[in-house]
């Protein structure tokens, strides 16, 4: 029963430790450092949620920034002070112009907006496979950018919305990161999660086992999109501005890098890679500016990714969770653990059943 007790305490302890860290950081660090930590947290949300789509189910999506954009714009329009709305967005419908929400409902509605978009898009696009899906989601990202640029009465077009209230702080980011990780963790260790992994490993076999392909795919797409939408809202209220070009192909690329580097399917891996990548980019940014060597951080990230793909294509953590996180779990759910694919080294669960 030791394992059981340790499990019950492990996550709450971790969460508490994180909360203490947040508290300490907030009382000792300056705004610059805090904003970097916030970006790190937002990237964790993005990477972990993209991991549900790309990693668990193997749906290679480049559309994550598009869902961020949906969530970000929805949240931004909702929280925008009425006075500024009248000035910047005079063409807004009256009922919308009168709204001024607080952050939480705005974030959730942004997330739901992104989820809705994911359902609409996923319904048709998810029939595609492999790199065709990637290209189609990239197309979706570009289409969405064009739409946002042209919906001037809501978005102010290419100028974007600026002067948003700075509502996001480290607490918000922290809580949402914890929620994201918790939900994704639960999903991964549920029957839905195992269905997703089964689809990734072998679609036909999964279908033969009675897993509803279309529904599982769209669930994983929509789940990823929800958190992307929330992250978009957090992002907008941290930067206090939002423009269509923020949600770029480069961003899609960076998110994919996080999933690949961390190991497709590994939540710990995605979170770890998100931290690493953000820190690398943030450390390089001052260097970039002082040397006027713009582009160097992207070059380094791209080369890093190429090296990982060459020498460690399964990513840092494969599709497993590392032992120090998962040992406690195995004692409790050992049976489930053995039967599911993520624990058996190569992640070839379904194949090995047959």
């Amino acid at each position: 029963m030791m394992g059981w007790n340790r499990l019950r305490w492990f996550f709450p302890m971790l969460i508490l430790a994180g909360a203490i860290l947040v508290f300490v950081l907030r009382s000792t660090m300056n705004d610059y450092v805090l904003s970097i930590v916030c970006f790190t947290g937002i990237n964790i949300i993005l990477a972990v949620s993209l991991n549900v789509t790309n990693g668990f189910t193997g749906l290679f999506s480049l559309g994550h920034p598009a869902f961020m954009a949906v969530g970000g714009y929805v949240a931004a329009i909702l929280t925008f002070p009425v006075a500024r709305k009248a000035m910047l967005l005079p063409a807004l419908p009256a009922w919308l112009a009168a709204q001024q929400w607080s952050l939480l409902p705005a974030l959730i509605l942004g997330g739901l907006g992104a989820t809705f978009a994911a359902f609409r898009v996923g319904f048709s696009v998810l029939r595609l496979k492999g790199h065709y899906l990637a290209v189609a989601t990239l197309g979706f990202l570009i289409i969405l950018q064009v739409l946002i640029t042209n919906l001037e009465s809501y978005t102010r077009g290419p100028l974007g919305l600026n002067g948003l209230p700075m509502l996001t702080n480290l607490w918000w980011v922290y809580v949402w990161a914890v929620i994201t990780i918790y939900v994704c963790w639960k999903v991964k260790h549920s029957s839905l999660g195992r269905s997703m992994l089964a689809i990734r490993e072998n679609e036909i076999a999964a279908e033969c086992l009675g897993i509803p392909l279309a529904r599982t795919r769209i669930m994983s797409f929509a789940l990823g999109a929800f958190f992307a939408g929330v992250a978009g809202g957090l992002w907008a209220h941290l930067v206090t501005a939002i423009t269509p070009t923020t949600f770029s192909v480069i961003m899609a690329f960076n998110l994919v890098v996080m999933v690949v580097v961390g190991g497709s399917g590994s939540i710990t891996g995605a979170a770890f890679a998100a931290v690493m990548l953000t820190v690398v980019v943030e450390v390089l940014r001052p260097l970039e500016e002082s040397l006027e060597a713009y582009g160097i951080s992207e070059v380094i990230v791209a080369i890093g990714l190429l090296l990982i793909l060459l020498y460690r294509p399964q990513g840092l953590f494969g599709s497993q969770e590392p032992a120090f996180v998962v040992r406690q779990r195995q004692r409790v759910s050992g049976e489930v653990g053995r039967a599911s694919s993520y624990q058996n080294g190569k992640g070839g669960g379904i194949k090995s059943i047959f």
Partner: protein, 295 residues
């Protein structure tokens, strides 16, 4: 109105010529190793900058520059294949795709790093700027050369692929790598050749792009590259005639979309292109001239 439409059609022909040249590379590379090479568009950018460098550096005649740009593009393609794609051969499809995306980002940002993101003016000799009027249609010499050169290059390519030993080897390799090896075909060399030809053509397209639009920057290749990919998909990816057809169709489609609809829609141009892509992928995944193959 008729004159306006004629002018638009000519513009479509010019744009389509460039798309077609780039799409050929996509389709050749995909045809042989089933890789969507996202870095292909950035070869266009490299071609444009190499042209600019050569134009600035001296009095090299334009036709020679074109040959040099083709060679530069080809070498770049070979380098990318050697350094990145060959070591990953046999990896899952998506890995190749991510690799190509990484190379695209790498090339763009190396461009920014070395050349700055500032757009530069592209020089063309005066004789290429001469304007000819054919009734209501006015054309610069450069526009005219773009179309002619593109068509000549494509005819060459078709002849090469259809009627030479090398072309036969390429077609065989595209259909079945292993059996091609059993025939004694060195597939590494064939793949390299596909990259070289495709990238060389993309380089020449970059030269045309610069000449046509007058300004170049390190990011210029990405979106046209994506659109050329769309063209390749429309024509049926893997089919060279398909890529040509797709390139021209997309060129016409895009120009007419902008030219014939009320101006308010013209900023939706890219959305139009990519919606077409998604529709084609969903409805007609083998494109117009593509072969039905199992994935």
């Amino acid at each position: 109105m008729g004159g306006y439409i004629a002018q638009q059609l000519v513009n479509g022909l010019i744009l389509g010529s460039m798309y077609a040249l780039v799409a050929i590379g996509f389709t050749m590379i995909y045809g042989i190793i089933r890789l969507i090479n996202f870095a292909h568009g950035d070869i266009v950018m490299i071609g444009a900058f190499v042209t600019l460098g050569l134009v600035i550096s001296g009095k090299i005649p334009f036709p020679v520059i074109m040959i040099l740009v083709f060679i530069a593009g080809a070498l770049m393609g070979i380098l990318i294949e050697r350094a990145a794609f060959r070591p990953m051969r046999g990896a899952p499809q998506v890995t190749g795709f991510i690799t190509s995306l990484a190379i695209a980002i790498l090339l763009q940002n190396l461009g920014i790093l070395l050349l700055t993101a500032q757009p530069r003016n592209f020089f063309c000799p005066d004789y290429l700027q001469t304007i000819f009027n054919f009734g209501p249609v006015s054309l610069r010499a450069i526009d005219f050369s773009i179309v002619v050169i593109a068509v000549v290059l494509m005819v060459f390519l078709v002849l090469l692929v259809r009627f030479t030993r090398l072309g036969m080897a390429m077609r065989a390799t595209a259909e079945n790598l292993n059996v091609a090896r059993l025939m004694g075909i060195n597939i590494n060399r064939t793949i390299m050749l596909a990259f070289a030809i495709g990238s060389g053509l993309a380089g020449v397209a970059g030269m045309m792009w610069g000449g046509k639009y007058g300004q170049i920057d390190p990011l210029l290749g990405f979106v046209p590259g994506l659109k050329a990919f769309v063209a390749a998909v429309i024509g049926g990816i893997g089919s060279i005639p398909g890529a040509m057809l797709g390139g021209y169709l997309l060129g016409f489609g895009e120009v007419l979309f902008v030219g014939l609809l009320p101006p308010i829609y013209s900023s939706y141009r890219d959305a139009f292109v990519f919606t077409t892509l998604i529709l084609i992928l969903l409805v007609l995944p083998t494109g117009l001239l593509g072969r039905k193959t199992e994935e």
